[in-house]
């Protein structure tokens, strides 16, 4: 669209939010009118542990410039342990992406409770800013181009 | 252990003894104060305005020099400590000030608040330890009842200076105990003496000082100690009535460590 080419770069950002804490935190950011860029689109999942690394890679493959996963704080998971598994999975996935040369600023995990509307909004603002500074995500898309 | 040392203007003139006793005591305690070269006066008052840059540069120079030497920066005068510590915080956390100051200074490597600023008392508490100090005391000041006078510059704003509890500080009291004397706790030890206005509003600063002196002597202090040349001047100058002697804490430290004589001779 014209807005993307003409004006500043507007990244596509997918945010996976767990239903119990982070999605509610995003709702609180909304009801407190704490703004963050419209570039962020939230997908509701029951728990951070529902997020398959394949979803994240899929998003990148389909043109996302950044993917963020938000869940309950460790110890506060609605399902007790979900975010602990998510934490290990994401640590390894992010490390792998870093290993293959994808900028590590494009991925992030943040624990946001239902009460942390402010944190949700500042996190999103920061993350969008970071991804904007990295520019369009070309590496993941190009990884397999034949040369 | 070597520290970079920022004496400040008054310690070179009216308060030479504050400086001399500190250096002698440091030697006795096994650390060295290495005066930084080409230090400039800090200005004596922290410029609160968010748009003040030029007035902060002298502090930045001192901070950067310590950084280049890889040393912590030690201060002695309360005002210098206050100014340098707050400027350091600006350089660390205020993006705008940091950028503009660095643009102006054109340092080889930009300064971003890397230096740790320590007051001499903090060195005693956090690096030497009051227990160790106590062991090194050769001439304890037994029987002396001493009121600590903190004033405002060392304590506030506490979130930034992180010196001690702003309303109920204990560092100088602990120091007094370490040198063998008895601290006298009185409520106005953290009230301002009005030092800054003592030039033009002499009556006002007199009221402030009287309140402090009355409180301290009311609780039985024989003397006050301070780290601030301005407080010392003001308390001596502006009070009448229950007037207690005021000393620099370093003088008592030197005395307790048995190095006071050597300073006096020098």
């Amino acid at each position: 669209m014209s807005i993307e080419t003409k004006e500043e770069f507007r990244p596509k950002i997918v945010a996976f939010c767990c239903n119990w804490c982070s999605y509610a935190g995003a709702d609180l950011a909304g009801s407190s009118r704490l703004s963050y860029p419209a570039d962020v689109k939230i997908i509701r999942v029951p728990c951070s542990c529902r997020v398959n690394p394949m979803f994240i890679l899929r998003a990148f493959e389909k043109g996302a410039d950044g993917v963020i996963l938000c869940g309950c704080h460790p110890g506060d998971c609605h399902y007790s342990t979900g975010n602990y598994y998510a934490r290990r999975r994401m640590t390894l996935l992010f490390s792998m992406l870093d290993y293959i040369g994808v900028e590590n600023g494009r991925t992030r995990v943040e624990w946001v409770s239902a009460a942390e509307g402010v944190k949700f909004s500042t996190t999103m603002n920061e993350f969008v800013e970071k991804v904007r500074s990295l520019g369009k995500n070309v590496r993941l898309e190009d990884l397999r181009c034949r040369n | 252990m070597k520290y970079s040392y920022y004496p400040g203007c008054t310690l070179k003139t009216k308060a030479v003894e504050l400086d001399a006793y500190a250096r002698a005591s440091a030697r006795a305690l096994g650390f060295e104060l290495e005066e930084i070269e080409n230090w400039q006066c800090c200005g004596g008052v922290y410029p609160l305005g968010t748009d003040e840059i030029a007035t902060k540069l002298s502090s930045v120079r001192a901070l950067n020099e310590a950084k280049e030497k890889g040393q912590d920066l030690v201060t002695l005068c309360s005002a210098c400590h206050h100014v340098i510590k707050r400027v350091n915080d600006d350089m660390k956390n205020a993006d705008d000030i940091r950028t503009r100051a660095n643009n102006y200074m054109q340092l080889e490597e930009p300064y971003a608040g890397e230096t740790t600023v320590l007051h001499f008392l903090e060195v005693l508490r956090d690096r030497i330890g009051f227990d160790t100090l106590k062991e090194k005391v050769t001439a304890p000041l037994t029987g002396k009842k001493i009121g600590a006078y903190y004033g405002c510059l060392l304590l506030r704003p506490s979130g930034l200076l992180e010196f001690d509890d702003p309303e109920n500080p204990s560092i100088i009291e602990d120091f007094i105990r370490a040198i063998g004397a008895e601290p006298v706790i009185y409520p106005y030890r953290n009230e301002c003496c009005g030092g800054y206005i003592s030039l033009k509003e002499k009556e006002m600063s007199k009221t402030m000082c009287d309140k402090i002196m009355d409180s301290a002597s009311g609780f039985g202090a024989d003397m006050l100690i301070t780290a601030c040349p301005l407080c010392l001047y003001n308390l001596n100058k502006s009070t009448c009535g229950s007037r207690l002697p005021v000393y620099y804490f370093t003088e008592l430290l030197a005395e307790a460590l048995g190095v006071k004589e050597e300073v006096a001779k020098a």
């Binding site: - | 400040g8 203007c9 008054t10 003139t13 009216k14 308060a15 006066c41 200005g43 004596g44 008052v45 410029p47 609160l48 305005g49 968010t50 748009d51 007035t55 005068c77 005002a79 405002c152 304590l155 506030r156 704003p157 506490s158 702003p166 309303e167 009230e191 301002c192 009005g194 030092g195 800054y196 206005i197 003592s198 030039l199 033009k200 509003e201 006002m204 402030m208 309140k211 040349p229 301005l230 001047y233 001596n236 100058k237």
Partner: protein, 129 residues
């Protein structure tokens, strides 16, 4: 001369204080050692800025009575920092031409033998530009 609105904005900008955070509890005035010498009291500074009555503020003798002791800043439960407002108002005055509060020729009579350098230095910083 700037409009009062612009001056108020300048004070807010220089001080970095948001007067809207004030809940008007008066703890600043309760803490201020110079309270009795001030014509405009510490807690009122906030409302003067809010009401854009900068004229009264810059002509207030309170500017010169503030000790910069930060008791108000330390104790403010709302993190408003009234002391910074006062300082910003003082800056507004001394940065104006002819706004100096201390003249060089006043100094000799103010001096005494024990007077520490830093008092003069800081007085210059506080009272003139």
């Amino acid at each position: 001369m700037n409009t009062p609105k612009k001056q108020a904005e300048m004070i807010k900008e220089i001080s970095g204080v948001n007067p809207l955070k004030c809940m008007k509890c008066g703890k600043c005035s309760a803490s201020c050692p110079s309270y009795n010498e001030m014509d405009i009291k510490p807690h009122q500074f906030v409302s003067y800025v809010q009401n854009e009555d900068i004229e009264s503020l810059v002509n207030s003798k309170s500017l010169w009575k503030c000790l910069s002791c930060f008791a108000c800043v330390e104790r403010c439960p709302r993190d408003v920092k009234p002391g910074k407002l006062i300082d910003a108002a003082r800056q507004l005055v001394v940065r104006e031409k002819g706004g100096d509060y201390l003249m060089a020729d006043e100094i000799p009579e103010l001096l005494d033998p024990e007077l520490p350098q830093q008092l003069l230095v800081s007085a210059f910083r506080r009272y003139r530009r």
